[in-house]
Every structure is written in C-alpha cells, then in structure tokens.
Amino acid sequence: MSNEQTIGDLLAEQVDRLLGREVTRERLIAVEDGSFDQGLWQALEELGITLALVPEDAGGVGLGWEDAEPALRAAGSWAAPVPLAETLVAGWALGLAGIDNPGGPLAVSDLIFQLDHQGRLSGEDGLVPWIGHCSHLVALAERGGERFIALIPRDDLQLTAVETLARIPSARVVVSGFAPAALAPAPFAGELGLKPALAAARAVQMAGILDRLLALCVDYGNTREQFGKPIGKFQAIQHLIADLAAQAAAAQVAGLYACRQLDRGNGEHGAAVAKARAGQAASRGAESAHQVFGAIGFTDEHILHYYSRRLWQWRDEAGSEHWWAERLGRQVLAAPGAQLWPAIAG
C-alpha cells in the first residue's frame, strides 16, 4: 500500500519468495520425521533474516522486532520448517546481553533456570522445540533476583524427545549443574524472562498461518463446486471465510503490536495482549478453515493440517491465550476501574 518500502518489507519479500518456492509438503514431512532442512536454513541465512535482530556490530542486521515482523510472518505463512522464530529470539537476547552469537540455528527456553554461586546452571523445560538440531540453548538464568542470559551448549543438556501437535522435533530439557558457555547480565529481562519475546514471535507466526488459511479458503471457495456452483457462492461459506478474515486481521495486528512493544521495552504488556488475542484467533480461524474445507481438509495429503496443527500447538506455547489473559486481567483488577482507560490509551 505504502510507497516507501522498508528494509523489513524487502526482507519479507525475499523470505516469502524463497519459502514459496522451497517449502513443499515433502520437506515439511521430512522435518516432522526428524531431519533438519539444512538447505532451507542456509538459504535463509543467506538472506540475512536469521541474524535480523542481532546488532550490526555483532555481525547481524540490527533490525528491531517491528522491522523483522513481516519476514517472520511470511515464514509463518509457509509453515517454514526451521527454527527461525527461536533463532531470532535467541539472537536478540544474546545481542542485548552482549554475548557473541555462535551462529546457526538456536533454541530458546521461555522458562527461567537457576544459577548457583559457582556459576552452575540447573533447571528444566518440558518443551524446547528444535533443540535437537541446534548447537545451543539460550535461556534466562536467575541468581538472587539478578537475571542473566545464558548460552548453553546442547551437549550439556539432557534431552528427552516429546510429542507435540505441530510434530516439530522437540524435547524436554534438563540441565543439572553445568556452567553455561557464556553468561551476561540481562537487566532488560523482566519477570518473565524470554517468554514475552517468544510469545510475540508465536503470535506473529500464527498471524502468518492465518493469512495462508484465508488465501487457501478463498481459493477453495472459488473453485470447489457443490450443488452446481462454487461453494463460495453460499452465504454460509462466505460467512465462515469472513470470520476467518477477521481473525487473521486481528492476529496480524496483535503480532505486530507485540513486536512494537518489545522494541520499546514494554514486551510483557505487548505479549499479553497479542498472545491473548492471537491465541483466540488461532482457535477460531482453524475451526472456520476446517469447516470450509470439509473432509478433504482432514486428509494427510492436504496441506491444511500442516497449518492447523501449528495453530493448535503455538496457541499453547509461551503462554496460552488463557494464561496471558489471566495475567493481563489481574493487572487490570489491581487498580480501580477509572485506571482502565488510561492504561489503554495513555
């Protein structure tokens, strides 16, 4: 729409073009079966997107979250089977903490690990996607109220494979008393550590998926015929698709909102609003899309479930919509009603 294209838009276009060409159902299956798509990852690295949030002086692109949002959403819209969101969060956190980025795909935890006085890390996270394919885990560590970003070699972790609806290779992670490869104070991290950033990323990815579902549904509505006409002529189908469109739009705005708030150091609030809203959009959007597609959308062969399963998964990761809504609601209830509007509008 706008005449000036930002670097973020350009990057997104490149990512979109690459993924539109490369992400086939076969490659999605291969990744769900456990292999890593090195070719796709390298192609993305070449575009610079994997280091988008790493400061320029640390060898990255030095973008903010708002700039990176279109590319991440584009990646979501193709269900890109790579740890792009995780690597972005990790690169951003390492960059802020001034830790050298080891490069390559990185995993993140949205929980907080404990650091003892010998600098040894302990803790566990029941779900870390992609960790089996990453050299390091980036996580928040805490010691006596102080917060640190820790870079932990995968080999220092105990991994147990876990199953998710997305079927992205994931593991339960336990670390017991290893010193991290790098550690640096993280004054920027709030009470929730990396959870807000990961939640923001998931909201953006879900928005991308909903964009795709909408495009698929419009196309199907125009081509699939029943009762002698395209099903998109039926008011019921039109309304399902209009509802999906509304959810896709809301999720898009939610994801972008979270990114903008992260950029201004208000990540927790942004994530709460965005994940609460986008999680709801994910549930409703997946429901509408499946209803539009009918039986064909339930087949393994059809692409739909590679999207809907990610929606069902990501709404639960990094805090569900209920978890964030509850947190937001408790903040609202902590102040008199007259404070609600100023809290929203400033």
């Binding site: 809504a325 609601g329 609202v332």
Partner: protein, 385 residues
C-alpha cells in the same frame, strides 16, 4: 506477500497528551452528573448543550479548514478527542453525525455555498444532522429505495418515507438519499443525495419508540417537500456511490467498538469490592481488554491510512465486524462477573449501564448495515466470486 490486509501501525505521538488531558478535564466537569443510563446511550445520546460546549472547545470539525470554522488539526487529534468522549459515554448525538459523516461529505462533494453555510454551524454544535437512508421496504437492501425527488422549477419535490433515522426528530438537517432517475433496472443507479431542512413544510416526523420506551429513531414522511436546487449534494444520480463510501468510511471509527466501554470501570470496581477477583474474572477481563487494545490498533491504522489518502475499505469493514462482536459480548461479561443481578437499580451506575446495554446491544449489529450484509461485503472484498 500473503495477507490481503494492510495494517500499518499508527502511533499516537506523546505531543497529544496535553490535549487528551484537556478533554479528560472537560469531561470530568461536564459529565459530573451523568447517570449510568445516560452514559449507556454514548454517541447516540442527544444533548445540544453538551455539543455546544464541545464546539466551544473547538472539538467539532477539528480537521476541517479554518475558513469553514474548522480547526485544521490532525485526524490524530480528532481521534484522541473522540475516543476520550466514547470512553465516558459522552452524549455526542447532537453533533456526531455532522462531525463524522455529513460535514466530511460536504467537504468532499458539497458546493462552496453549502460548505460556507453549514460547516460553521456544525462546528459550533448548532446544526444537527441526521441520515436518511433506510425505508420501510429498503432495510438491508438499501438500493431498493423508492422515495423520489422530482425536478421542479428551482429545485426538487421529495416524496416518500424514510425510517430508522436516529435522532431525526431532534435534528435540524438531513442528508437523504432519494431516487432522481434510473429506469429501475439497475437499482442503485439514479439515486441522489439532498441536504434537507427538517423544518421544511411537508415533512412529518414520527418518533418510533424503541423497546426501552425511548424514542431515538424515527419514521419520516415526505409529502411533496420542496428542496432548492442548490441543496443537491454532489452529483445527481451518483448518490449511491456517495452514500456507500460514507458508510465504508465510518465503519472503522471507535464508536464501532467502544459503545459498551463505560460499563467496564464500574464492573472492575464491583469485582474489587469483593476481593481481588478470581481466575474467571481475570481471564474474562483480560481477554476483553486484549480484544479492545487490538481493535483500537486496527482503528488507528485505518485512520492513518485514510489520512495518507488510501482507501482501506476491507480493513474498515473488518473493524466493524470485530467491533460488533466485541461490544455485544460485553453485557454477557458483565452478567457473568457481577453474578447476574435480576433487578435494575436506578442510581447504581453499573446496574443502569448494564440494564441499558442488555436491551440495546442486539441493535449494534444492525446499525450501519447488518452483520450479514457486512460479512458478505468482506467475503466479496476478499475475492470470493
């Protein structure tokens, strides 16, 4: 890129904070005695004195050129004023339609004479406008309009019936859509917009009581009403496009999702009186606030795009659709979290507001076009053939 939407963010600059504060101070004073029931009416509430006071502050026609009494202020400033008013349910009705719809129409398409005559009056809160679209047999199907304007010496003679005209009985002027030609085959051709003085002879306004017993909308009978030639607005025969683009424009404004907002603060206070609120209260309120924040972001984005000269019609339609759902859920939220009191306690702000809204929200998915029509527009806009 995949998304058919554009929601470029618009950030309200901190420089608007003093204006916001001024509006809040003004409203704290003006709204001191507003009851919950009154506040429930929000932008449909008609209070000429209030509108004059708003006008005196320079908050009507804020973005219009100074030559017509406007403030030449930004759309962002106007947005701040409007959302502050809506947040407290201020009675905007006496200037709302002029400020939101009829004034901008005249600015876009009116004659110089029309602008000079009407805009300054709107700005002062002196000229109230209503919108004459629906007819008894043209509700959702607006193009089925049958009211006619026949060309006569020096003007037009209007005959027919308009209905559901909000505040028609209190308004000074109407922008009305009448049939001026067309062979009736292509129904939306041959319609024209007129600026009608509501005191003209031949106009009979019959207020229609609503289910709460109040009369906000009206049936308006036109019996050979003379309208001077210079009161045609825009282009003869192009009224359908003119009117529907107005509708598209108004869809994304905060009145489409903030009508129920004023009930939330007293709800929160009531919950707090009983303790901190539990998981149920927190989750439901949190989800509602998240929804509202996102709607506001969407609305701001559309505002920014309009200001840049784009026409984000699809985006605006989605704001209205989502806004309707948001508003209509709020009385359910209040019911569940305030344990469903079975009486309407006059004098209790929460109770009055809830009583008003329970009875009125079902109409929110009708005004400005029904939900069904809107969803069809959205679907078509997405490329469903």
């Amino acid at each position: 890129m995949t998304s058919p939407f554009s929601f470029k963010p618009l950030e309200l600059p901190a420089a608007l904070q003093p204006l916001r504060q001024r509006v809040r101070d003004f409203l704290a004073e003006a709204g001191r005695d507003w009851s919950g029931w009154k506040v429930g009416h929000s932008w449909t509430g008609f209070d000429r004195d209030f509108s004059r006071a708003v006008g005196a502050e320079g908050w009507i026609g804020m973005t219009w050129p100074k030559q017509y009494g406007g403030g030449e202020r930004s759309h962002l400033e106007r947005y701040v004023v409007v959302e502050e008013m809506l947040a407290v349910g201020a009675p905007l009705g006496a200037h709302w339609f002029g400020d939101r719809q009829s004034g901008p129409l005249l600015l876009r398409l009116g004659t110089e004479q029309q602008r000079q005559r009407f805009l300054p009056e709107i700005v002062k809160g002196e000229a109230s406008f209503c919108i004459g679209l629906s007819e008894p047999n043209a509700g959702s199907d607006l193009a089925a309009i049958k009211s006619r304007a026949n060309k006569v010496d020096g003007g037009w003679r209007l005959t027919g019936t308009k209905i559901w005209t909000t505040n028609g009985h209190l308004s000074d002027f109407m922008i009305g859509l009448f049939r001026t030609g067309g062979d009736g085959k292509v129904k939306h051709e041959g319609l024209s917009q007129f600026l009608i003085d509501m005191r003209s002879s031949g106009i009979d306004v019959r207020p229609i009581r609503d289910l709460t017993g109040e009369a906000h909308f009206n049936e308006i009978f036109f019996d050979d009403v003379f309208v001077p030639a210079d009161m045609l607005v825009g282009v003869e025969g192009d009224g359908w496009n003119q009117a529907t683009s107005e509708l598209a424009f108004e869809r994304s404004q905060p009145d489409r999702f903030m009508s129920c907002f004023p009930v939330l603060p007293p709800l929160i206070d009531e919950i707090r009186q009983g303790g901190d609120g539990d998981r149920l209260a927190a989750r439901r309120l949190g989800a509602t606030v998240a929804d509202l924040v996102i709607l506001r972001e969407m609305s701001l984005s559309v505002l920014g795009q309009l200001a840049e000269g784009h026409a984000p019609a699809r985006e605006a339609a989605l704001v209205k659709d989502l806004g309707n759902s948001h508003e209509q859920q709020i009385p359910n939220l209040v019911r569940e979290l305030s344990d469903c009191p079975a009486t309407l306690a006059r004098g209790n702000r929460l109770s009055e507001l809830q009583g008003f809204l329970t009875q009125n929200v079902p109409s929110y998915s009708l005004r400005g076009g029904t939900r069904e029509i809107l969803k069809g527009i959205i679907a078509k806009g997405l490329g469903l053939r």
